[in-house]
């Protein structure tokens, strides 16, 4: 889009800081965070709740709560996003970057059919689209995420779907505009274990089809190890380690990463105590940081 010859990275984040005012003074929930993601690449951000990973994704989308302040630079394919007005930013949201949230039930509006909500996402970025065309796109998107009988289900309301199916709807909604970057914030946390694997498989599949980049935010190291090429470990708002997924698991450098890895229960573990991470460090007020925790 900009420099000739060399394509700029899909996403560049530099010196990102997010601050929340609290009665006890300002709390930095993200501190000096920086990373890049190449087109079609995938990056996992891992951390405990309160580590600032969700706020990072909201900052990229420009969806931080109004009382939060942010500084730093976010570039999408070489284009600066951080200085844009909300109006300009809204053309990027949902079109170039699409997002899948943690809890698909509360993230879908109960008052509209899933079809209507997918159509909305499509029509927000395509001029002169008839309802019928948008509806066809919605049905196709639902078929792509393997919702059986999509032509009928398109007129159903979110509460008529199961948890896994709702998350499929969310993914369909994110995909219908063919975005370059998909941000998935804890996409499987609210789901049953058996459904989690299906959703992850689906995410991998659609990524292969569309070539979209993936930013996966999770607390689950196992998920990251399967899904992304690179991993960034966050703690108390800052990056403690960044490495390829392979290396991170074979050779964790930072003690915190090691502690996190140890805390993952394995099948070959002795039955008994679960290891936990001790010494959470200077974690900012946990409740105030994770926007998705209710």
């Amino acid at each position: 889009m900009t420099a000739i010859g060399k394509t700029p990275p899909l996403l560049e984040v530099e010196e990102l800081n997010v601050t929340f005012p609290t009665p006890q003074g300002a709390v930095d929930v993200v501190r000096d965070l920086g990373f890049t993601l190449e087109p079609g690449g995938s990056l996992g951000i891992v951390g405990e709740s309160g580590s600032g990973k969700s706020m990072t994704s909201l900052a990229i989308m420009g969806l931080l709560p109004p009382r939060a302040t942010m500084s730093g630079r976010v570039r999408l394919a070489g284009r600066e996003l951080s200085g844009l007005t909300d109006r300009q930013l809204r053309r990027v949201r949902g079109d170039r970057i699409a997002m899948v949230f943690q809890d698909p039930l509360s993230s879908l509006n109960p008052y509209y059919t899933v079809g209507t909500q997918i159509e909305e996402a499509y029509r927000a970025h395509r001029q002169r689209v008839t309802r019928r065309q948008a509806r066809r796109v919605a049905v196709e998107a639902m078929e792509r995420v393997h919702i059986a009988d999509a032509a009928r289900r398109v007129d159903h309301y979110p509460h008529q779907f199961s948890g896994g199916m709702r998350q499929r709807v969310m993914i369909a909604m994110a995909l219908c505009t063919e975005p370059d970057l998909l941000i998935a914030d804890e996409p499987t946390t609210a789901l049953d274990v058996t459904v989690q694997a299906q959703i992850l498989r689906l995410l991998t599949e659609v990524r292969q089809e569309t070539g979209a980049g993936l930013l996966l935010i999770t607390h689950d190291l196992a998920v990251v190890s399967e899904m992304t090429e690179e991993v960034l470990v966050m703690r108390a708002g800052a990056c403690v380690e960044r490495a390829s997924a392979e290396r991170l698991f074979s050779d964790p450098r930072h003690p915190y990463t090691r502690a996190l890895l140890d805390a993952v229960p394995r099948l070959d573990d002795e039955v008994g105590e679960l290891r936990t991470v001790h010494g959470r460090g200077p974690s900012p007020a946990a409740g105030a940081t994770e926007g998705d925790e209710r």
Partner: protein, 331 residues
């Protein structure tokens, strides 16, 4: 759906029967002998006895109740022989004062009350929702504070006090409006409007205030919902996010509250009509109270209960129409 309706309607009938029984009990057990009251000054024991027989007051209480109920659904005949009068269903009896059928008295005055109620309802919905929206979308600004101070006053000021203040300012001091009188729409639309303007405002003020607070709270709550975040993440323009994703869910509960308030409006109309001298059902009730005209009071109580109970059913139906989660799941 049909089963739901039948269950609901049988509940309605049960509650209305209870209301009848309760009202009947209070009036005919606790109050002084109606026959003596009807009889008036030049009373003789024989006259009282005749009134008793005519009204069926000499029968046992339960029998009286059943003839009252019978009158409601099938009409009844008072007295025997030549002096007998038939009261067609729905028979609520006759006024002690004017000897008119209560049902006709109510029906004569219902248009005034309906005009008052509908006008006030339109006013309070518009003002309340607009004020609440203003507060929610400009949260923390002077607009918000201003709207909420007005709403707080509206909740705190008794409507007869507000009515008198308004009348003093607009009619006595500024002379912008004439003293309320009786003008029909057909005679003089402008005068009719001026006539009803103050009663509308007075009746609407308290409701508008409550609705403004409720709307504000609901919209602020809804704006922090995850699905509003989703709507923004999809890149919808702000006005669409607010109109479709915040307002629709926030206003749905208000629609149901509105049904209940509207059905219960007869109580509020009573004071407003009295203060402004509007000749509606409310004023008739107040007059009947001061004259102890029990058949009229009882008739109005039953009618008001009927409105409230039916209003509740309508709300239930409305809710199923407005909220897809309550709708019968056909999937």
């Amino acid at each position: 759906m049909a089963r739901f309706l039948i269950a609901r309607l049988s509940g309605v009938v049960l509650i209305l029967l209870l209301v009848c029984l309760f009202t009947f009990g209070v009036f005919f057990v606790l109050s002084p002998d109606p026959a003596v009251q009807i009889c008036g000054k030049n009373c003789t024991p024989e006259l009282i006895e005749r009134i008793r027989t005519n009204l069926g007051l000499d029968e046992p209480l339960l029998a009286q109740f059943f003839s009252f109920l019978g009158g409601l659904f099938a009409g009844r005949t008072y007295g025997v022989g030549e002096s007998a009068t038939h009261c067609a269903a729905p028979c609520l009896g006759y006024s002690f004062q004017s000897s008119q059928p209560v049902w006709d008295m109510i029906m004569d005055r219902l248009p005034v009350t309906a005009t008052l109620a509908v006008g006030a309802a339109v006013l309070w919905l518009l003002a309340g929702v607009a004020g609440g929206l203003l507060g929610a979308l400009r949260e923390g600004t002077w607009w918000d504070r201003g709207a909420m101070v007005v709403a707080l006053s509206g909740i705190s000021v008794p409507n007869y006090v507000f009515a008198l203040v308004l009348q003093y300012v607009l009619v006595v001091e500024l002379e912008w409006l004439p003293f309320p009188g009786t003008v029909t729409f057909a005679e003089d639309p402008g005068g009719w409007f001026q006539n009803y303007l103050m009663p509308w405002i007075v009746l609407a003020f308290a409701y508008a205030s409550v609705y403004a607070r409720l709307t504000r709270a609901n919209v602020i709550d809804t704006l922090s919902e995850n699905y509003v975040r989703t709507a923004r993440a999809k890149g919808l323009p702000r006005h669409q996010v607010i109109r479709r994703h915040a307002l629709r869910p926030a206003l749905t509960p208000i629609a149901t509250v509105f049904g209940m308030d509207f059905a219960g409006l007869l109580g509020g109309a009573l004071i407003t009509e009295t203060v402004f001298g509007l000749n509606g059902v409310g004023k008739m009730t107040a007059d009947s109270i001061s004259r102890n005209d029990q058949p009229v009071i009882m008739g109005v109580t039953l009618l008001a209960a009927f409105f409230v109970v039916v209003g509740n059913v309508v709300i239930d139906l409305l809710y199923t129409a407005l909220d897809p989660r309550v709708r019968v799941n056909s999937a």
